[in-house]
């Protein structure tokens, strides 16, 4: 049985110390890292997302849950590298050039990581060139771009154009999000998807991968 109720609960409660301890126990019991991720961590983050949608959890709970999940992943990553286990999907995420806001980006990154995706966080104020370089070097299946400001949103289009120019646009699905962003805008700039919430972004990534 790979499910660790202690780890599941620790993530749900946003308790990083307990999550770390529960992971150590599970590893000592011989549970494989990928099984621990798929049977305890992913369901826990799915539940966190559900509680967020139901307005029982708020952004702080999402971030605490993400922190607890990362404390578990820190223990699992070296083991996965050693055993050759890999997460199936790689996502590059960043806040676009000129925009220093990272709350939405961090939440989506946490939720994706907790849902079993490998997340490469490029940070904030990410230039189109940096997105292009990350796609070329890290070969993700998904690129997520965030913007909080109306004035920085156009950088999403610039980045998509840069991916096109570099011949990489067809290699990735591009998702966008952020307070001023809309589905209409996503269509206008040629993005593959838009989500207004972090848990919605996880579902969208899953759908896009299924459709790919």
């Amino acid at each position: 049985m790979a499910r660790s109720e202690e780890l599941y609960s620790a993530i749900l409660d946003g308790n990083a110390k307990k999550a770390h301890a529960a992971t150590e126990v599970a590893i000592a019991a011989g549970v494989l890292p990928l099984d621990l991720i798929s049977e305890s961590m992913v369901p826990a983050m799915d539940e966190v997302g559900r509680l967020f949608e139901a307005e029982e959890y708020f952004v702080p709970e999402l971030l605490l849950a993400g922190r607890a999940m990362r404390s578990a992943l820190e223990l699992l990553r070296p083991l996965m590298v050693a055993s050759g286990e890999k997460l199936s999907t790689r996502v590059v995420i960043g806040t676009v050039k000129g925009d220093l806001h990272d709350i939405g980006k961090n939440i989506v990154g946490s939720m994706l990581e907790g849902s079993g995706f490998e997340v490469i966080d490029l940070g904030t104020d990410v230039s189109p060139e940096k997105f292009v370089a990350a796609v070329a070097e890290r070969k993700p299946q998904i690129v997520c771009m965030s913007a909080l400001l109306t004035v920085t949103m156009p950088a999403m289009k610039t980045t998509i154009d840069a991916l096109e120019t570099a011949g990489l646009r067809t290699h990735v699905k591009v998702l966008i999000g952020g307070a001023p962003v809309t589905m209409q805008y996503a269509k206008e700039i040629g993005a593959d998807g838009y989500s207004e919430s972090a848990s919605g972004a996880v579902g969208l990534v899953r759908n896009l991968l299924g459709a790919a």
């Binding site: 702080p60 709970e61 709350i103 400001l149 209409q184």
Partner: protein, 355 residues
């Protein structure tokens, strides 16, 4: 100016966006205007007159207090926006950052203050100042403020976590920085100051934790703002409180009753006619048309702005609470979308007048 002045403006049917940024971008070199006091004053005046408002509202540039604070810590302006403290501050640094502004203000702050003085020469305009709120500034001084605030809200004490210790330190220095900014603006003639606390919202402070008994909202938001309010009152300066974040009712009530601003400006996630029951009758509600979406004709067509304005006006009249129709926040210039934005601001104003 006193509370009656704002109530009369509301009764007189004033409508106005917070639109100085939009007007500034009609200039050939907007960034030059931003740092040029007399030129900025002209833009502020033009914005006020365009919308027939006696309130001369400046740019909502919430970077200035951080820049001025970090100058005291020796951080250059070019690095200020992305700079975060990463470990607790020494007592000596804390004392320095909580003390007087020994370094010159940045060009943007100087221009803001000079513009206030210029506006003050116009008898028919009220020089309104602008400052970020202490908690919102705190969130800009740390890399991951939400998680740290959530840890504090879950009962983690400064002695247990360096991050939580830094959070409370950042709040102290932020309050001092905002107070310095506010005092400078009052010295330059501000008759009212808009304190902007967009981070005082459910994204940063969990209602779940509050329900469980956390006093985080009180300590992080209310206590410093109550002290700020007292300082404004002492100087005879009116408080306009702005928070366009997602709020729960108890937050709106706390702002309205305990900070008791002359105007309470809220974001479009709130229904002002429902909030009226949470707000004393002598506090003018301001807002809250969804100006952050004005850039997009798809997401927010002109017809929808007209509909929302009509709804707001009719429902506010029905609930009989003083209000001023306006934008949910600063109406920012968006390259390539300026015409769409202006069209909607105009629609909001024309429709409102027609009502």
């Amino acid at each position: 100016m006193g509370r009656e002045f704002y109530l009369e403006l509301a009764a007189g049917g004033l409508r106005m966006p917070i639109g100085t940024d939009l007007v500034m971008h009609e200039e050939s070199d907007p960034e030059k205007v931003r740092n040029d006091g007399p030129a900025l004053a002209q833009v502020i005046e033009r914005a006020a007159r365009r919308w027939a408002s006696p309130l001369a509202v400046p740019l909502m540039d919430l970077r200035l207090e951080k820049i001025d604070l970090l100058r005291l810590a020796g951080i250059p302006e070019a690095e200020a926006e992305s700079y975060h403290f990463t470990s607790p501050l020494s007592e000596a640094m804390l004392a320095k950052l909580c003390g007087e502004q020994t370094e010159p203000l940045c060009a943007g702050s100087r221009a803001r203050d000079e513009a206030l003085a210029c506006i003050g020469t116009h008898q028919d305009l009220v020089p309104v100042g602008m400052a970020i709120g202490p908690f919102s500034l705190t969130t800009r001084l740390m890399a991951d403020p939400i998680t740290v605030a959530a840890l504090a809200g879950s009962g983690v004490e400064p002695g247990d976590s360096e991050d939580v210790r830094l959070l409370w330190q950042c709040l102290r220095i932020s309050e001092a920085a905002v107070l310095r900014s506010v005092r400078s603006q009052i010295q330059h003639g501000a008759k009212a100051i808009m304190i902007c606390e967009p981070a005082a919202c459910t994204a940063f402070i969990s209602p779940r934790q509050l329900k469980a008994g956390s006093n985080l909202f009180e300590r992080l938001v209310m206590e410093p703002n109550l002290r700020l309010k007292a300082a404004l009152e002492e100087a005879g300066c009116d408080l306009i409180f702005h928070d366009c974040g997602e709020l729960i009712d108890s937050m709106v009530e706390a702002f309205a009753h305990r900070l008791h601003p002359v105007m309470l400006s809220l974001g479009c996630s709130r229904k002002l006619w429902e909030d009226a029951r949470l707000v004393p009758a002598d506090v003018v509600l301001y807002g809250n048309l969804p100006s952050k979406s004005f850039y997009s004709d798809g997401a927010m067509p002109v017809e929808e702005v007209v509909r929302l304005t009509e709804e707001l006006v009719s429902k506010m009249k029905a609930c009989d609470h003083p209000y001023i129709v306006g934008s949910e926040c600063d109406v920012l210039f968006v390259p390539g979308a300026q015409d769409a934005i202006r069209k909607k601001v105009q629609a909001m104003m024309v429709e409102a007048v027609a009502c």
